[in-house]
């Protein structure tokens, strides 16, 4: 486990949030096991990101720059990463579980013939059968259980990390690291699947950056709460989101669905309204600083993971909250 390699994904030439979240965890693991952290950045222009990765603890950053690699190119990225891993021979490879990482990591693992664990929410080193092993924790059965996965023999051990669940570290400008330029070494054959363009449809990052999120479940919408949710969000300066059933019913866009198959968020304040609190939903916000649950059923499991709870008729409570918030302005 001496060397940990982090694939630091770029979007629009900038590091994704999850890349920095992984850096912190990689650094913690390296400290425990006496190893070091390296990172790899692939894109059109990666120098600034490389410096940022150094400030976040990377001792070496491998930079693969090429205008053809501005957008995600599945074949080319797979080839580059496999070659680098073959040369660096890290014990552990960590990648962000974005929709891109979730495509790239399994292909790389398959080509290397090694094990990969998806969407990890925690990484630890534990002694198992007398050996210190990397234990990868993943939510199983839609979050009803947590499963510990190990990869006893094959190296590197690979894992994708769920965005939004790990804490980001502080950059320290005094840190020093080596930046290594690597030739991409790709040609036409490496574009069997070619990404032609990226089309933007929404600003999803709003959800990750929100300090306050108000999330509606099926019960709330059933009570006619669509407009009410927006009103409450406005009064709080919050961003709206919803549970899987609310999303399936078309009340909330898929991009704002909270939970196991949707987004994981950890705002300062998360307010869940009219959702009973199935594990695959609550897993998406369980790490929020403060959680408020409002539901008609006082025995709903959502109250088990909340700091404050209000049980009662949503059609009365929500307008009262809006009124109270607006009165104070």
């Amino acid at each position: 486990m001496k060397e940990i390699l982090v694939w630091a994904e770029l979007r629009d030439g900038r590091l994704t949030g999850v890349a920095l979240e992984i850096m912190k965890k990689a650094l913690d693991l390296a400290t425990l096991s006496g190893g070091r952290v390296s990172a790899v950045a692939i894109g059109r222009e990666c120098r600034e990101s490389a410096a940022e990765l150094v400030a976040h603890g990377a001792e070496r950053v491998f930079v693969v720059e090429d205008a053809r690699l501005d957008l995600y190119q599945a074949d080319a990225f797979t080839k580059i990463l496999c070659r680098l891993i073959g040369e660096i021979r890290p014990g552990i490879v960590l990648m962000g579980g974005t929709s891109v990482g979730a495509d790239l990591a399994p292909a790389v693992a398959a080509r290397l013939g090694t094990g990969l664990t998806a969407h990890c929410t925690d990484l630890r080193i534990e002694a198992i059968e007398g050996l210190d092993q990397l234990v990868m924790v993943v939510p199983g059965w839609r979050g009803n259980m947590m499963v510990k996965i190990v990869c006893p023999e094959k190296r590197p051990v690979m894992a994708t990390i769920r965005p939004g669940v790990m804490e980001r570290g502080r950059p320290e400008p005094s840190r020093e690291g080596e930046i290594v330029a690597v030739s991409p070494d790709i040609d036409e054959k490496d574009f069997r699947a070619r990404t032609l363009e990226r089309v933007r449809e929404s600003e999803e990052s709003a959800l990750e950056q929100a300090k306050i999120i108000v999330s509606g479940g099926f019960g709330f919408y059933e009570a006619g709460g669509v407009a009410l949710l927006d009103q409450l969000a406005r009064a709080l300066g919050a961003v709206t989101a919803g549970s899987r059933p609310a999303c399936d019913a078309g009340w909330v866009p898929e991009s704002r669905m909270i939970g196991q198959s949707g987004r994981t968020v950890s705002p300062d304040l998360f307010i869940s309204i009219g959702a009973s609190g199935a594990p695959h939903y609550t897993t998406g916000f369980a790490k929020s600083k403060l959680i408020v649950a409002i539901d008609k059923n006082p025995k709903a499991p959502v109250f088990d993971i909340a700091d404050f709870g209000v049980a009662g008729d949503l059609k009365e409570i929500i307008p009262a909250l809006v009124e109270e918030l607006e009165a104070k302005e």
């Binding site: 399994p106 664990t117 006893p152 990226r198 089309v199 594990p279 609550t282 909250l321 009124e323 109270e324």
Partner: protein
């Protein structure tokens, strides 16, 4: 140009009943008894997409699954939707597989079942939920891949497909050479339900069984199958402890609202 399409599907415990899964704290084993098996939800959309491509450009649709004998049921359901034939990968040697070993066996099964221009999958299963198999299957076949597909257009000469691939904040337009593996998301289509006629017809369609020997003939060694071919292991299962100590705020709605806002201000959250 007609296309020969194969769709990989999976039988899973009904996800609506996952909360009935319990953990035996003594043995650490999962109890999922009594939960009925269903076809993995997004896989139906993959079958539907294959049928639509066949309707537009001709060709055939085969469906394939790896699983115990009772997984035949999800093949029958796909045949009733309109698929032409089924392939059941069934052998004790396949049991205990992680995604790498699963992909290896799927690829061998596909090779032994015929020549295909396109393999479709659901983007992920609800039980394992790793979403790793489609990309690993593409690697095992030596084909290119596109995952998270929400729209597929086959070019007239059937040499390429133009795919809209979902990504955070939008989508990527990807052109992929065939043969390829494409994994679809639910929003790609609305799938049809089997008709009575379809169900009757399904009974006449062929389901072939492929075991370990046929996979070996297709070039896969037994050591690469099942548990033996799986680099990862489950080291344990535990119940997630996320409990917080909730403070319930009671009273009339107005009172509760005021009480809650006061608490949040005290916590500096507003």
């Amino acid at each position: 140009m007609p296309l020969n399409i194969l769709v990989c599907i999976k039988q899973v415990p009904d996800p609506e009943q996952f909360d009935r899964i319990t953990l035996d704290p003594a043995t650490g084993s999962i109890n999922r008894a009594g939960i009925p098996p269903v076809t993995n939800p997004v896989d139906r959309h993959a079958v539907e997409e294959a049928l639509r491509i066949r309707e537009a450009s001709g060709g055939t649709v085969a469906v394939l699954t790896m699983g115990p004998p009772q997984a035949r049921k999800c093949l029958e359901d796909a045949l009733a939707m309109g698929a032409d034939r089924g392939v059941l990968l069934c052998d004790m040697a396949f049991a205990g597989a992680d995604t790498l070993a699963t992909a290896a066996v799927l690829a061998a099964g596909i090779r032994s079942a015929g020549d295909f221009d396109l393999v479709l999958c659901g983007n992920e299963s609800v039980d394992g939920a790793t979403g790793q198999v489609p990309a690993q299957l593409a690697e095992a076949l030596g084909w290119p891949r596109v995952t998270y597909a929400r729209k597929i257009e086959i070019a007239k000469e059937a040499a390429t497909a133009l795919v809209e691939r979902e990504i955070e904040e939008g989508f990527l337009r990807v052109e992929v050479r065939l043969p390829a593996v494409i994994a679809v998301v639910k929003r790609i289509n609305r799938y049809r339900l089997p008709t009575i006629f379809g169900i009757l017809e399904a009974g006449k369609k062929e389901i072939i069984e492929v075991g370990c020997a046929a996979c070996e003939c297709a070039g896969l060694v037994a050591e690469a199958m099942g548990l033996a071919g799986s680099p990862t292991r489950v080291a344990g299962v535990f119940q997630s402890h996320r409990k917080r100590h909730v403070e319930m705020i009671g009273g009339e709605p107005k009172e509760a609202a005021r009480g809650l806002i006061r608490k949040l201000k005290e916590m500096d959250a507003l």
